[in-house]
Subunit: 500 residues, 2 copies
């Protein structure tokens, strides 16, 4: 009887092994040789020096190990790689531009995973100006897609700080956001169709360029935001828009976040879809920019005010007409400015260069922070109607736990997304603060959750928030997510250790 | 040995029985008694006369049977009903306003199913004007939600012919569309969050009122469009928009669909999001309206032209400003009208009454058709760039198979969705045509598929297209859908016989 149990035990161990890992080095070599046969030896990296840049995430928080890195040149090669990985039980870590902020594209420490990099899938397959759609492969950079659209007299509105290097496959897998979500939506809203290799190695050809298509479960929306755990996106049909004829940006000083929200309401009512960005900037983040980028001329012109808003208007009409409407609107806002919460200073960019300078200040915030040292970053979303309450209640809660703590709040007020970052003015104190990050997260995320918000607005979960989210999602939702993962990826080989 | 096999057989039969159906009448009565205990006797219908209206779909194509009909009064009662059905193995058929066009809310012929009707879940739970969001229960009619939004100075843009009786739960389950998708998207795009009872009886509380929330798989988008096969939507957070200050509608005569598409392009480039509807109307559909609604004054004023377009512009600016821009644009379109494919006749509604009259004509098309007898209806979507080709290639294909056939094409050109209906002028020939519907569908749907389109743009699959879709979806996609269904509803009790 003991023999039988022992035999069963061995058999099960063997099953687990053959399911989940390669048996021995010679098999590993044979596996890598098969991959080299698929992508060509030049596109299969195994030398540690070649792998290094792909083993650490952009923020340098995570470093993993990998069996190797494959750079497929087309969808068929991606599919062939996935099938080899399935057969050998090798986990896969898809990686785009490696600009993610949550470690979603970094392999774990096991060294068992194969990194699949999409940089060679970088063709714009087609542009259909009449149907306002473009088909891009997963490895196209966001900037590449923006210019391809513009070259065709069209507009692709997704826009992020990392657009020069981030890839659309990653943008879709993390449902990236940015500054124009208010008008055009997130990456999810901009994808009409997808092509993807599913965890079972089958190719899903879902490149439909349609605005309406109600024929069953929407696999597209399941893969978008799944961070590569339900399959590998190889191409997408992206929505295009008419290229705006004119853009007008203005900078306002405001007395409080509540005043900024009241202004947002009035501005939306007056401009609807022509309001394309509405950014909130806290005093500290601006003074850091003043401090570290004082050489920038336009800084001097920025009003001193408790809070700041940078908003942008776009129109398919002539600039003169848009500018005239904006000026009329701002003049009205300035009447009884105090009671409207608008300080008596407004900067309306007169030229495109001035407009870009104002945006430059906004985009310098993160860099100015970096110069101050590391900080604990939060990417939160709230109902817009609760943001003022959050910004009122959070400082005392944090001050109590971390006397002298500094917080920087800035971001996309128009869609309820704030970047809320914590640091200490003094280096040693700041170092100590970083070691207490879980405590700080708990205080911030608990209040966000209480106010009906999200602890990840546009960055995803990756490794960073995979455990944290379990505190805020119901068991019912987590169970449904696990059931879907189990159904589509029973071997658990698709980007293991992320999301779930 | 035979005994053992026989025993196993019996055991399996018993399992199947206890899994899938009630064992006997007394158990059925006990089950219904438990339901009556949940919803109250007055809200559990079993009398055939009371059930009749819910057993047949709106178009009268399908009639099923049911064990009974339960009308829960709140989410907790829906959850309790689902748990009783799970325990007893009773299939559930959710039903909203019963206005669906594909039989998705009609039970099958087994008589085993319980109909769950949502009309009592009809509260607007909250409106947040600052966050531009509203929480509605599944049984709220679309019209009720539109007026609740308007009462709060907001705008809910989803709009359909059946809005007086269709319910938002059904609109979301079928991802309903309508005339303003061009600007505001489909029902899917208008839902920020959902509350739903999942097939395992768990409640998913996903009523997040957020524009950005990247924290795992998007269950919301999986339930939307699933036609009740993955769970029962009990409430939703809906997106609101600023109420447009002004609306201008105009009617144009055009030489061809290609000319209409060229006009659409120019209009979108000139008005972007201010173009809120762009409808194509074929000559035959208009002449049927002329014939059956000749008493309508405005009919006389409609130009005689090969094709027609009804488009609407909305703006948050004064009407005078919008009207002035539209007039300038139309004047330009009329210069070299012929070369632009615009016939020399344009009607620009001067009053709101005139605007509604023009829409009245558009909405009379279906009714005018009905007066001509039944027709074979298709709800198709195409890339806008392929619509002219479809309308050129389909007539000869149909004429070859059905000499003398008439086709009516009208719909939402702005989002690529056409309603394409077939009939014979003479009653007896038309009756014969109806018996050959599968042949006609095959000709239409094969061409739609070849051109990259969808055989169900905004009506869903229900029972009507459940088998038809298997011809056009890849095995890979169908397998993924089945895996998801199996994972979330292993007993197959959620609206069986629909979608899959």
């Amino acid at each position: 009887m003991n023999e039988i149990l022992a035999g069963l035990l061995w058999y099960n161990l063997f099953l687990m092994a053959s399911d989940m890992t390669l048996i021995n080095p010679s098999e590993t070599n044979a596996f890598l040789a098969r991959l080299a046969g698929i992508v060509g030896a030049a596109h299969l990296l195994t030398d540690p020096a070649d792998l290094a840049p792909s083993l650490t995430d952009w923020r340098g928080r995570y470093t993993g190990k990998a069996l190797g890195l494959a750079r497929p040149g087309n969808t068929a090669e991606v599919q062939a790689i996935v099938r080899e990985c399935l057969a050998a039980g090798v986990p896969m870590t898809p990686q785009g531009g490696n600009t993610g902020l949550c470690g979603g594209a970094t392999p774990d420490a096991s060294g068992q995973a194969l990194i699949i990099q999409f940089s060679r899938l970088n063709r714009i397959r087609s542009i259909d100006a009449v149907n306002h759609a473009l088909v891009a492969e997963a490895g196209c950079t966001l900037a590449q897609i923006q210019s391809a659209a513009e070259a065709a007299g069209q507009f692709f509105p997704l826009s992020l700080a990392s657009e020069g290097s981030c890839q659309i496959g990653g943008n879709l897998s993390t449902n990236a956001g940015g500054v124009q979500v208010l008008r055009y939506g997130t990456a999810r809203d901009l994808a009409l169709g997808l092509e993807a290799v599913l965890p079972n190695g089958e190719l899903w050809e879902g490149l439909k360029a349609l605005r309406k298509n109600n024929t069953g479960y929407d696999l597209r929306h399941l893969l978008i935001g799944a961070e590569g755990t339900l399959g590998l996106i190889t191409a997408a049909v992206l929505k295009l828009f008419p290229l705006p004829k004119s853009r007008v940006a203005c900078w306002l000083g405001l007395t409080s976040p509540a005043a900024a929200i009241a202004l947002l309401e009035r501005t939306q009512a007056a401009f609807d879809a022509q309001l394309t960005a509405f950014e909130l900037i806290c005093p500290l983040s601006l003074s850091l920019v003043r401090q570290h980028f004082s050489h920038r001329a336009q800084i001097a012109r920025i009003p001193h005010a408790p809070w700041h808003v940078l908003c942008e208007f776009s129109s398919s009409d002539e600039e003169s007409a848009l500018r005239e409407r904006v000026e009329r609107f701002l003049a009205a806002a300035l009447e009884n400015g105090i009671e409207n919460g608008v300080t008596q200073e407004i900067i309306l960019a007169q030229t495109n260069a001035q407009r870009q300078n104002l945006w430059g200040l906004r985009e310098n915030i993160s860099e100015a922070q970096k110069k101050e040292g590391v900080s604990i970053k939060h990417d939160i979303a709230l109902p817009i109607s609760r943001i003022a309450e959050f910004l009122e209640r959070i400082p005392p809660l944090l001050a109590q736990a971390f006397p002298g703590i500094r917080h920087i709040a800035f971001g996309h007020l128009g869609d309820g997304n704030l970047h809320f970052n914590l640091s200490m003015p003094e280096a040693e104190a700041n170092r100590r603060l970083q070691t207490r990050q879980p405590e700080a997260n708990r205080i911030v995320h608990d209040l966000v959750h209480e106010l009906g918000g999200s602890i990840s607005a546009e960055h995803g979960l990756g490794q960073l928030k995979r455990d944290e989210i379990r505190r805020y999602k119901s068991p019912a939702e987590l169970a449904a997510m696990s059931a879907i993962k189990q159904a589509l990826d029973p071997e658990g080989l698709m980007n293991p250790g992320k999301v779930l």
